[in-house]
Symmetry: D2
Subunit: 305 residues, 4 copies
Amino acid sequence: MTEFRGIIPPVLTPFDAAGRVDLASLDRLVDHLVDAGVDGLFALGSSGQVAYLTDAERDEVVARTVARAAGRVPVVVGTADLTAPRVIEQARRAEAAGASGVVVTAPLYALNDAAEVGRHFRMVADAVGVPVLAYDVPVRVHAKLGLDLLLELGRDGVIAGVKDSSGDDVGFRRLVAANVAAGRPLSVLSGHEVVLDGIFLLGADGGVPGLANVDPAGYVRLWRAAQAGDWVAARAEQDRLARLFEIAFVPKGRSGDAGGIGAFKAAVALLGVIDAPAMPAPLQGLTDAETAAIRTILVEVGLLP
Amino acid sequence: MTEFRGIIPPVLTPFDAAGRVDLASLDRLVDHLVDAGVDGLFALGSSGQVAYLTDAERDEVVARTVARAAGRVPVVVGTADLTAPRVIEQARRAEAAGASGVVVTAPLYALNDAAEVGRHFRMVADAVGVPVLAYDVPVRVHAKLGLDLLLELGRDGVIAGVKDSSGDDVGFRRLVAANVAAGRPLSVLSGHEVVLDGIFLLGADGGVPGLANVDPAGYVRLWRAAQAGDWVAARAEQDRLARLFEIAFVPKGRSGDAGGIGAFKAAVALLGVIDAPAMPAPLQGLTDAETAAIRTILVEVGLLP
Amino acid sequence: MTEFRGIIPPVLTPFDAAGRVDLASLDRLVDHLVDAGVDGLFALGSSGQVAYLTDAERDEVVARTVARAAGRVPVVVGTADLTAPRVIEQARRAEAAGASGVVVTAPLYALNDAAEVGRHFRMVADAVGVPVLAYDVPVRVHAKLGLDLLLELGRDGVIAGVKDSSGDDVGFRRLVAANVAAGRPLSVLSGHEVVLDGIFLLGADGGVPGLANVDPAGYVRLWRAAQAGDWVAARAEQDRLARLFEIAFVPKGRSGDAGGIGAFKAAVALLGVIDAPAMPAPLQGLTDAETAAIRTILVEVGLLP
Amino acid sequence: MTEFRGIIPPVLTPFDAAGRVDLASLDRLVDHLVDAGVDGLFALGSSGQVAYLTDAERDEVVARTVARAAGRVPVVVGTADLTAPRVIEQARRAEAAGASGVVVTAPLYALNDAAEVGRHFRMVADAVGVPVLAYDVPVRVHAKLGLDLLLELGRDGVIAGVKDSSGDDVGFRRLVAANVAAGRPLSVLSGHEVVLDGIFLLGADGGVPGLANVDPAGYVRLWRAAQAGDWVAARAEQDRLARLFEIAFVPKGRSGDAGGIGAFKAAVALLGVIDAPAMPAPLQGLTDAETAAIRTILVEVGLLP
C-alpha cells in the first residue's frame, strides 16, 4: 500500500479564457510541483475546484495529471459527490484512470449520523481497489468527522489516512496521539497552510497545503527541516510561507472560492507556471489591483525578483 | 409557461429489498397522489432521496414518473448536484425525460456569495428550456437564498418560483408580499408540512409537503378550504395533518434522513401504496416498534381502520 | 395566577441625549400602549435593551413602568443575566418592584445541557413568588428550548408560559398542540411581528411583538379579529403591520440591535410618543435619511398624515 | 504597565458541599499554582465558573485571590457580563479589589457589529485604570474578535493583550505575525491546553490553560523549554500534558461546563489541593466511576503514585 507522507499539494485546475481546462498549463504545474520535490499530488481537491468540474472534465484532469506525474509521485484523487452510490462512481473512474488513492468526504446534502457516515466510507472502500483517504472539511461539508469514527475506520482498514482541514487543532492533536497509540493505521495530514511547523512538531505525517501550488519548494524545505528536527529553520520557513499566505487575504469582500483560490491562481500565473488565472463560472477572476497586490507579496517573499 | 400552484408533493422514491428502485411501487404512488387531486409532482426532491441516487437511477425515476403521470399533472424534477456545470447536466437530462420544470438549489460544497449564486441560477436557466424553480433548503445547502436575489431572478425571468424549506417564516411573508408588489413573477411555495393553513392565509401559492405522500387527500382538502376562504376548515384539516406529522418524530435518535423520510415510507407502505419501506444504503429502515407506533398514529387520524 | 393572553408588547426603554433613561417618555409610551388596549406589558425585554442597562437602571425602569401601568394591565419583567444565581437576583428585584411575572431565558455564556437548563428554570421559580415565563430566543441565547423540556416545566408548574422568538414555526405549532393535549398548562406566545395571523389561527395565546410599540392599536385589532374568527380582517391587519415592519429593514448594514430597535425607536419618536430615538452606547442612532425613509412608511400605513 | 507573559492559569473556583465558595481551598490552589512558578493568575475566567457566581461571590473570590497571591504574581480578573455599562461595573469592582488587569469579552446577548464591539472595549478601557485584555471565546460569546479589530485596539492602547480561546489556529498565527509587524502592542496568549508547543514555536507570548490548575509545573516546564529553544523537550512535555487532558473526555454525555471543568476539579481534589470537586448548581459533580477513571490518568502521567 502506498504510504501517504510529506507534502502532497492539492493541485489547482488551470482553465483557459474560454472556460476549458488548460491541459498544457496543468502539465507545467505538475512539473513545477514534482520538480520541487513534493511527495505526492492531490488532484480534484477543493483547490482543484472539483465542485465546478463535470465528470468529463474530472476524467480529463485525472488522466492528464497521472500521465504527467508518470510515476514520479503518487496521485490521489478527490471524488466530491453527494453520497456513497455517487461517490463510488467517481472513485471507480479515478481508479481506472490511475489514481493511487481516492479522497472522500462525508456525504453532502444528506443529513446523516456518525454510523451512517461510517457505512458511507465502508461502501466506498468496498467498491474500489485503492486506498481511501478521509477528507475532513467542515466548512464545505458542514459536519466534522469524529475522532472515534476515524480511528475505527483506520483500525478496520477502511481508510488509510485523513486530510484534516477542520481547523480544530485540539482535535487534530488528539487524533495524532490516538493514532500513534493504535499503531499508526492512519496517515494524518493537515490542510492548513500556516501552522504546519507546529503540526509537524506534534507528529503529523504530512501536509496538503493549497499554497504549495505557489511555493512547493518552500513547503518541501519546511517538511525536511521538520524531519531533521531543525525547528528553528522550520519555523522560519513557515513564517515566510505565512507571509506568502497573505495573498489569500488580498481580495476583499470575495467569496471563499473566489478569493483564496483566485489568489493562488493569480500567483501561479504571475510566476509563469500556468497561462492564465481563469476561474470557472460563476466565479470571476481577480482585478488588476488585486493581482498587483499579490505580485508585491511574491516579491517580498522572494518568489519574484 | 406552466403555473406552479396548489399541492405539489415531493414524491418518495420506493426501493426494493435488494436496493433497486421499485418502479411498480412508484407507479402506485404516483396514482395515489394524482388520484387524490394534487396539482403537480416533484420528483427527485429531498423526500425522493435524490442525494442517494446515481444518475442512471435518477433517469429511471423521472422517466417512470412522467410516464405514469401521463400529462394528468406537471412533473417538476430536482437536480441536486454541486455547481452549475454539473446541475446543467442534471437539468438537461430531466428536460429530455419530460420534466415540466427543474428545481435547483444554490451550489453545494462551493463557498459562494450572493452574486455568484445568482449567476449559478442564470447559467442553469440559460441551459434549459423549461422553467426553473429555486429550492431554498438551508438545512441541506447551508445557505439561505435572500429576498433581494429571489425577486431579482423572478423579475428577470430566470426563475418561475420558489420552494421554501427554510423555516424562516418572517422571511417567507416578506417574500410573498414583495412578490405581490412586483406583479407576482414567482410562484411562492412552502415545504413545511404543519403550518400551511397560516401560509395559505398569508397568500402563498401552494405547498410542497413531504407528508402529502401519506395523505394527499388531506392536503388537497386543506388547499381547497383555503382557496374557499374557509379558514376554520383549513385549520381543522391542518391540525389533523399536524397530528399525522408526529410520525416523523416517532424515530428517536435517528439522523434527519433516516427518521423523517423513513417514517413517511413506513406509513405509505402500511397504507399498502408501496411494497416496502426500504431505504437506500447507508440508511437503515425503521424498527418494528417504530413502525407499530406509526401505525397507531395512522389509525388515530383515520387513515387506517 | 395571572393569565398571560393577548397582546403584550415588549416596551422600549427611552433614553435622553445624555444617555440617561428618559422616564417621562417611558410614561407616555406606557400610556400609548395601555390606552390602545394591550393586555399586558413586558419591561426589560430585548426590545427594551435590557442588555445595555445596569441594575440601577433596570430597577428604575421597572418601578416606573409598574407605577404608570397602575394595575391597568400586568407588567412582566425580563431578567437577562448569565445563570440562575444571578437571574434570581434580577428576578427578586423585579418582584419587589411589582412585577406580575418574570421572563427568563436559558443561561448565557454557560455551556449547559437540557437537564441543566431545566434545573436553571426550577431554581429561579423556587426563588420567586410570581410566575415565570420562559423566553426562547436562540438568536441571542444560542440554544433552543426543546418541546419536551417546556412541557415538563409547564406540567410541573415551574413555568406559566413561553415567549417564542425562535423563528421555528414547525416547533411552535407542535408546542401549541402538545400544550393543548396536556391541558393548557402554558400560555404560548409568539414574538414574531409579521406572522401573528397564522399564529393565532393555529391557536396561540397571544403575541409579544416589538413592533407593537409603534402601532399597538393595530395589533389589538389583529388579536380581536382573530378572537372573533374574522380571518380575512386579521390577515388584512397583519398585512398592513407587515408593511409597517419594513421600517426594520430600512437601516442597511447595521447590527441587529442598532437596526431593528433603532427603527422602532425612530418611529415612536416620529409619532411623538417619546422625545428622542436615542440609543445606549455603544449603539448609535439612525441617520436622517434612514429616519426619513421610516417616516415615509409611517405615512403609507396611515400612522402619520 | 504589567506585561502579560508566560503561564497564567485561569483559576478554578472551589465550592463546598453547601454551595458556598471554599476560600480555604482557594488559598491552597493559589499556592499550588504560584509555587509551581506560574507567571500570573486569571481569576473569574470560564474555568473559574464566573458565569455561576453572584457579584458578591465574585468580589469574595477576587479579594481572596489577590490577598493570597500577595504580589508574588499579577492577578487578572474576568468581568463576564452582558454589555459595556454592566462590564464596567464588574471591572471597577475588580480594580478596587486589586486586579492587575481585567479580562473582557465581546458583548453577550446583544447583537453587535465590529464597530460596536470596538466601542464596547473602548468604553471599558476608559472606565478603569488597569490594562484590559480581550478574551476571544466564540464557543461562549458566539462571535469571533477579528484580526483588524484586535490590532486597532492594541495600537490605540485600548487593550494590552488577547486571550485566544477561539480554536482558529490560522487566525492565531496571523494575529501573532501582525502583532509583531505592528511593534508588539499586544500580549498574545492562547487558552488551548494541548497545542502550546506549536503555539510557542510560532511566537505566542504565553498560555492560559485551564488544565494548568492540575499540573502547573508541567506547563511551566513546557514554557521554559520553549523559551530555551528546546523544542524536543517542549513537545515531550506537551504530549504528556495532552495525555493528562484526556481527563476532560472521561465524562461522556455531559455538558461543556459539567464535563471539562468537572474533570479539572475532580483532578485537583484527587491531588489534595482543594477539599471537594463540588460544582455550582445547576451543574452536578462527576460520578465515582468518572472520578476513578480520572485518577487512573493522573497516575499514568505521574501526578499520583
